[in-house]
């Protein structure tokens, strides 16, 4: 009644402009997209995939010679007990290292999936890095390093002083093992686990740092990208964004490429932190991969989000596809490997894209039958090495690791 009286009395009207601005981001539109011209002389990646984003530069790249060509078929599936969750494996020199995200570490022969050794421990977090002859895992007890050949424990780096614990996905350049903590970033000696430093920002580092040329680069929940001296932990620079930085930073040719939860991909000078360029995607940017003079970035939250290809020098976009499922990204000059939405059904499956155009060139179908059980599905992240794709999987409700290789006509 009050409102009717208001209208009759001609009361003051205050309106607000509720028209939203597009969340699809700025930058070049579809009309200016054109295929990427990948520079084959700027191929990134190395043999093996020892840590979350490949190696200590976090390029997420695989050399074309080490990558398979689709179509792929499931080569083997190695089951582990445990229900906690799937882990993206590490691969180096013919051995796959992974865990069941609970209490057992596994080393598997890369060509057959046969167990080399396994080791039951207290809680282990999802993520390991292989450095030298060690496989390093974070856990409630700190960081534990195991001999790659037989699983003998070599050292433990205990949690930092105080309440902060190490988080996931350590990265190493062979000398320093850098890892996020609940309150910042820490580093231990890769040879013996001795603590080097703990740089506290007051908020969590959620994912893998990069370690390049004596500098640790880490994204933090305080919205900054931090560059810290790998030996002393002293701050070299920090770059502010508008959201949590939960994307592993990638460092290539003196530039740091990283995404933020503010929806932007940043290119920063690795020496000074100065911005070279930025590119708005819209949703939180989760991952970047760099090869062939291009940056591939995936964004999104709970739903499928955009995957884009940008020119590394300028940030200019080549293409955009709304296909990113949030489960990792591996970039080769000939194919991008990631999880793609299934046609029609819910869920996702492993697929390959043309890096020049973003077109889907292959998608794994019928995976449930091969993996067995109603709930057979592939899981989180991809490691691409030695002509194969390795990924976590769930088989008959159990945690597993799977390897996919080029399909042969005689292979079902």
């Amino acid at each position: 009644m009050r409102r009717r009286a208001l209208l009759a009395a001609g009361g003051t009207v205050a309106t607000t402009a509720l028209a939203g601005c597009s969340v699809l981001g700025s930058g070049t539109g579809p009309s200016t997209d054109r295929p990427c011209e990948l520079d084959r002389s700027r191929e990134r990646g190395a043999a093996g995939w020892p840590s979350l984003r490949g190696g200590p530069r976090n390029t997420g790249a695989v050399p074309a010679a080490d990558a398979p060509a689709p179509p792929l078929a499931v080569d083997w599936v190695a089951g582990m007990s445990g229900l906690a969750g799937t882990v993206q494996p590490s691969v180096l020199d013919g051995v796959v290292h992974t865990s069941d995200y609970g209490g057992t570490l596994h080393a598997l022969a890369a060509d057959s999936g046969a167990s080399r050794w396994q080791h039951t421990v207290e809680d282990v977090y999802p993520g390991q890095t292989v450095v030298g002859d060690l496989a390093c895992y974070t856990s409630d007890a700190g960081i534990r390093a195991y001999d790659r050949r037989d699983g003998t424990r070599r050292w433990i780096a205990e949690q930092p002083d105080g309440p902060a614990d190490y988080t996931f996905h350590p990265t190493s350049d062979g000398e320093v093992l850098a890892v996020g903590t609940d309150l910042g970033v820490a580093a231990v000696d890769a040879a013996n686990g001795e603590r080097r430093w703990h740089h506290r920002t007051g908020l969590e580092t959620h994912t893998a740092p990069a370690v390049v040329d004596g500098v640790v680069f880490a994204g933090n929940d305080d919205t900054y990208v931090h560059a810290l001296d790998a030996t002393t932990g002293e701050g070299r620079w920090r770059a502010e964004t508008d959201g949590r930085v939960r994307c592993p930073p990638s460092v290539v040719d003196g530039t740091v490429f990283v995404g933020s939860n503010d929806g932007t991909v940043y290119a920063l000078d690795a020496a000074t932190g100065e911005r070279a360029w930025t590119h708005d995607l819209g949703p939180a940017v989760r991952v970047v991969a760099v090869t062939g003079g291009h940056v591939f970035a995936g964004a999104g939250g709970r739903e499928v989000g955009p995957l884009v290809a940008l020119r590394a020098a300028t940030g200019e976009r080549c293409w955009r596809r709304d296909v990113y499922e949030g489960r990792g990204l591996a970039a080769g000059l000939d194919h991008l490997w990631t999880y793609l939405p299934r046609d029609g059904d819910r869920g996702d499956t492993l697929g390959a894209l043309d890096p020049a155009t973003g077109e889907t060139v292959w998608r794994l179908d019928g995976v449930e039958g091969r993996l067995g059980g109603i709930r057979g599905r592939l899981g989180v992240g991809v490691a691409v090495a030695g002509g194969a794709v390795y990924t976590g999987a769930i088989v008959d409700g159990d945690v597993a690791t799977a390897r996919l290789v080029e399909a042969r006509r005689d292979r079902p």
Partner: protein, 438 residues
């Protein structure tokens, strides 16, 4: 992304927008707005110290660097069989007493209730001078209005009691739980959870009211926003914050109302995050808005954003304290920012890591800023460097004051500073005094 108020659209949208905001003419017994809003007042009439909410306490006497500490456990003064769990609000100080209101919106079988406690500030007397029941519990900290203390309650009332005796003077039913009022001269400004902002006289009579009403929400019916943050008053404007609980990313509005009649001067849209939005603060022509995961600096005259500092700590941002070109804000850690452009100057790291089984507590209560000291947590930091000077900052797992989980932290609207004595409350029902007594 910021928005500006735009001319009315046509058609249905204009109609619904017209339903959304109403300004009703005031009554004639209402005193004109007081032109003097910034002066330092006796006592500590409301959280943040000023009608501007800027928490600037420079010039006031401060506790020494090794202050005497006294504490009162409010649980000792209630009958546990009759009173609900205490949830203490920030303290305020009138001429005679330090006043603590309690109350909590709870589920369960017990009817929620609260109390108002009055302690003599200067003595170590173990008992309150008086206490009074608050039927449904205090929905926010109260405000001192002349010789009265005005308490907002969960059942939608403002209850005014005499600060000296606790006797009830008047009561107004607003229809929705109010927030902490702001007192300026002979007027009281208060918002409520139904989206109404009011200006009241010393007798509780209405000078004006503005209903945001149900805001447009796509095609369906809208819901009323909440306006339960303490308003900030500076110059001829009252700044109030409105938030809705839907999923629209621009579901928060900072609105500048004319003090004389409540008419809207400008609006600023923002994303409030998932936590209750705290009071804005005004200093030097800028409104500082703790907007969920960022602190926004908005031009007080035009509503244009000047800068924004993303915090992303997950549990929200405090009302900042602003003085001398620096902005101090508690967002789990304590940040000092340059008021001109939001550049971070220093950061005090709080070691709480989300484990609710220890006494480590993130810092979210509003700080105060003096000349050389920032009062944050239960202590003082150096204003220039952020180095701790005395007290506790949520970093001690064996703390004598911070408790476990949410109730173990400070009341969010911060401490009171009067006559060189700092008063702070812990939510679980502890009043702590630094300095004074003896």
């Amino acid at each position: 992304m910021d928005r500006r108020a735009s001319p009315a659209a046509t058609g249905r949208r204009a109609l619904l927008a017209a339903l959304g905001t109403a300004v009703l003419a005031g009554c004639s017994s209402c005193p004109p707005p007081d032109s003097d809003e910034g002066s330092v007042r006796a006592g500590w009439p409301a959280p943040h110290g000023h009608p501007t909410n800027a928490g600037d306490v420079a010039g006031r006497p401060e506790p020494p660097d090794d202050p005497r500490v006294t504490a009162w456990n409010l649980h000792e003064f209630v009958d546990p069989s009759r009173d609900d769990t205490l949830f203490a609000r920030s303290p305020v100080v009138g001429e005679e007493h330090v006043l603590v209101a309690t109350g909590r919106r709870t589920g369960g079988s017990r009817k929620p209730a609260g109390r108002l406690f009055a302690f003599p500030p200067a003595s170590d007397a173990p008992d309150p001078a008086w206490t009074a029941r608050i039927g449904s519990g205090a929905s926010a900290a109260p405000a001192v209005f002349g010789d009265l203390v005005v308490v907002p309650t969960f059942d939608g009332r403002l209850v005014a009691r005499e600060t000296a005796t606790g006797d009830r003077r008047w009561e107004r039913s607003l229809g929705a739980a109010p927030g902490t009022p702001t007192v300026v001269g002979d007027r009281l400004y208060v918002g409520d959870r139904g989206g109404t902002l009011r200006a009241l006289s010393p007798d509780g009579d209405r000078c004006w009211r503005v209903d945001r009403g149900p805001l447009v929400e796509g095609i369906g019916l809208g819901r009323s926003p909440s306006a339960s943050s303490k308003p900030a008053v500076a110059g001829d404007l009252v700044h109030a914050v409105y938030t809705r609980e839907d999923t629209d990313p621009d579901r928060g509005r900072l609105v500048a109302h004319d003090r004389a009649d409540g008419s809207v001067r400008w609006e600023y849209a923002f994303e409030p995050g998932n936590r209750p939005v705290r009071a804005p603060a005004v200093a030097d022509g800028t409104v500082y808005l703790p907007g969920g995961e960022a602190l926004h600096a908005v031009d007080a005259a035009t509503g244009e954003r000047r800068w924004r500092y993303a915090v992303s700590a997950g549990d929200g941002v405090s009302t900042p304290a602003v003085r001398d070109g620096s902005v101090y804000v508690c967002a789990k850690n304590v940040h000092a920012l340059d008021a001109a452009d939001g550049t971070e100057r220093w950061r005090f790291v709080d070691e709480a890591v989300g484990d609710t089984f220890t006494r480590l507590q993130p810092l979210y209560a509003a700080p105060l800023a003096a000349g050389g000291r920032i009062y944050a947590g239960l202590g003082a930091l150096d204003a220039a460097t952020g180095e701790p000077r005395w007290g506790e900052f949520g970093n001690d797992p064996e703390s004598a004051f911070f408790g476990r989980s949410l109730g173990g932290n400070l009341a969010s609207e911060g401490p009171a500073l009067v006559d060189g004595v700092l008063y702070a409350t812990l939510r679980y029902g502890l009043l702590v005094r630094f300095g004074g007594g003896g």
